[in-house]
């Protein structure tokens, strides 16, 4: 985090004062490293300075960082609110002071100029479809996540559940978040429980191990955060059950992609974080310069989530490595 684009000497001859924008994440995560690469690539492409900030200590830290950016005269901020609903009034203030857009997670009541992201609930339903594909006869499922207090986690989880229970597609507004105290039983599928780990890897792995012990008929594991399935893989591997437990993931951790390549992960839902970063910078640059921004009427620039399965994993991964500058 915190890196600045190195744009010195890229042939910028205009006398225009360099535009300063910032990309603020909701924490530190491999996911954001990819987005950061996208933001920095965008900075180069659209000839601006972009600062990427990753608040390590949650919401208070995020607000402090944004305040400091504002004090520093930042011209555009793309933020992923940690608690969108509650932060709306704070973000409204920010929007009054600079060009503010939201990305990854939206804050509708905040006067943000636009939202760049995907619909996490839809992504959840896509994951649900992957499960259905892997378990045509139904089965028992455990969901793994870092913290349930986050909105994206709740939306993904609900998407998975609603898809498995064959409920009608809800919107983000009508979506009902189900409690996590009893198994949710549907016709074919049962969602046994959701286990949280507080972003602690050993806990994530132990959760997977314990789930296999507790639920003897466990058929599939769904990991809502990037690291969840890689942790599950370690646990399932040591139980020698890679062939019998289906694994469905979100995001594009290396372990997940390796698992898809090797055939023991059914698939993952990628949000294309690189695009989040690049598009955010693109929109902010255009906003500052007063150019055409391409913001639609509904203020929602959707980045399509991408379902990665065995068929397309190689292509996806090669592309990803290239984007991250490892290719």
């Amino acid at each position: 985090g915190g890196s600045e684009s190195d744009t010195a000497g890229n042939g910028d001859t205009s006398t225009e004062k360099r535009i300063k924008v910032a990309y603020v994440t909701n924490g530190i995560d491999p996911f954001w490293n990819i987005a950061e690469a996208g933001a920095l690539a965008g900075a180069k492409e659209f000839n601006v300075d972009c600062e990427v900030l990753m608040p390590p200590n949650g919401l208070a830290d995020q607000q402090r960082m944004i305040e400091t950016l504002l004090a520093n005269g930042i011209q555009g901020v793309a933020v992923s609110p940690i608690d969108a609903e509650s932060q709306a009034s704070f973000l409204k203030k920010v929007a009054g002071m600079t060009n503010m857009i939201t990305q990854d997670s939206d804050a509708p009541g905040s006067d943000r100029l636009c939202f760049i992201g995907m619909n996490n609930y839809t992504a959840g339903r896509q994951a649900g479809e992957l499960i259905k594909k892997a378990l045509p006869d139904g089965g028992e499922i455990v969901i793994f996540v870092g913290r349930l207090e986050q909105l994206n986690a709740q939306q993904r989880r609900q998407g998975v559940i609603d898809e498995l229970m064959d409920r009608p597609v809800a919107t983000l507004e009508t979506m009902q978040v189900e409690q996590n105290d009893t198994p949710i039983v549907g016709e074919k599928f049962t969602v046994l429980t959701t286990l949280t780990d507080g972003f602690d890897r050993p806990k994530a792995k132990a959760n997977a191990e314990n789930a296999m012990v507790t639920y003897e008929n466990l058929d599939a594991m769904v990991g809502l955060f990037a690291y969840n399935i890689p942790s599950c893989i370690e646990a399932v591997k040591s139980a020698n059950r890679l062939n019998d437990i289906k694994l469905i993931s979100f995001d594009e951790a290396d372990g997940t992609l390796q698992g898809i390549t090797d055939g023991y992960v059914q698939g993952t839902i990628s949000q294309q974080p690189f695009e989040y970063g690049r598009l955010s910078v693109k929109v902010m640059a255009a906003l500052v310069r007063g150019e055409e921004t391409g913001i639609p009427e509904n203020k929602f620039i959707e980045v399509q989530s991408k379902v990665v399965e065995k068929e397309n994993v190689e292509e996806f991964w090669t592309e990803l490595k290239k984007l991250k500058g490892q290719g």
């Binding site: 004090a71 709306a88 009034s89």
Partner: protein, 321 residues
């Protein structure tokens, strides 16, 4: 006094250097925000300094913040408590927490480290239980109440003093008076150094210790309320994580000795200010944020070790004189 002078110079230096490198540091908006954060974190710094002076420690503050914050939101939004009742209940809960800590430490003779470590774990769980493990906030409501955290007193030149900073100042003055002018403060200082001396003077040492934990928890509860009003959001699993360590660091930087019996409120104020200004400077000066911790750690180390070194130097001077 010398001790405070040293860290005061440190604070001024950080401010001056930051201003030179980025004049936006003195921008009214930035000053306002920095003062607000100083106020919010300062409240727990003051609280923990009482416990430290009693030669104890309180590791549970961060969890108390999460718990009272969660409770406040729940009481107001889910249980329709009136504002005064809700505030009263939250402070009441922190009071009970402080009393329980104090009783376990004085009556069962458990170590403060252990009691409050268990507190850290238990209150965190309770906060998650109280909220069903979901982030909660006031939404667009309770704007009036939130003025407590977000309001400010305007000054000329566009500057303004945020309410939390004023609350912090008022509490600091009360704390100073309590520590230096009252029986309680005197007994606390004496007890931090030599508990036997206090007991043998016929003073109820247990009560003094207990009150210090109550003060600390009450400050934690108040901070929980203020943080929640300011941020309009409580993350039950993560709000306040590690805040106790910041508070302890600020107190120690400000001259409180973990051996007990030593500490000044002005020092704690300066200590808190240093930590907050530092984090502000780090972002303002585009220092990669992963270095934030390292810089804070190094500044604390320098702060406390210069103090030791100066003390040695002074005492060797004395000998020569």
């Amino acid at each position: 006094m010398k001790k405070i002078l040293g860290i005061f110079i440190l604070l001024v230096s950080i401010c001056v250097i930051t201003t030179i490198m980025n004049p936006n540091f003195l921008n009214p908006f930035n000053v306002h925000n920095t003062l607000r954060w100083i106020g919010l974190f300062g409240v727990i710094g003051i609280g923990v300094s009482f416990v430290i002076i009693s030669s104890g420690i309180d590791l549970s503050i961060g969890s108390v913040i999460a718990l009272t914050g969660a409770l406040l939101v729940q009481l107001l939004t889910a249980y329709n408590f009136s504002v005064p009742m809700a505030l009263f209940t939250c402070m009441g809960l922190s009071l009970v927490i402080g009393v329980v800590h104090g009783l376990l430490i004085t009556k069962l003779k458990l170590k403060p480290f252990i009691v409050t470590l268990c507190g850290l774990l238990i209150y965190r769980s309770l906060a998650r239980l109280a909220t069903d493990d979901q982030s909660i906030g006031f939404g667009n409501e309770y704007e009036g109440l939130r003025v407590l955290a977000l309001g400010s007193v305007p000054l000329p030149g566009g500057y303004s003093i945020p309410f939390p900073f004023i609350i912090f100042l008022v509490l600091s003055i009360i704390a100073m008076i309590l520590l230096n002018k009252t029986l309680y403060g005197r007994y606390l200082l004496a007890l931090g150094r030599n508990e036997e001396a206090v007991r043998f003077s016929g003073i109820n040492a247990d009560r003094i210790v207990l009150i210090s934990y109550v003060i600390c928890s009450l400050m934690g509860g108040l901070a929980g309320i203020l943080f929640t009003l300011d941020l309009n959001s409580v993350q039950p699993a993560s709000s306040g994580n590690f805040y106790e360590l910041y508070a302890i660091a600020a107190a120690v930087l400000g001259g409180c000795s973990l051996r007990g019996g030593e500490g000044s409120i002005i020092g704690v104020m300066i200590g808190t200010a240093i930590l907050r200004v530092l984090t502000n400077s780090i972002t303002l000066l585009h220092i990669p944020d992963y270095l934030e911790f390292a810089i804070i750690g190094i500044v604390i180390l320098i702060g406390v070790s210069t103090d030791e070194v100066v003390r040695k130097y002074v005492s060797s001077k004395k000998v020569k004189a």
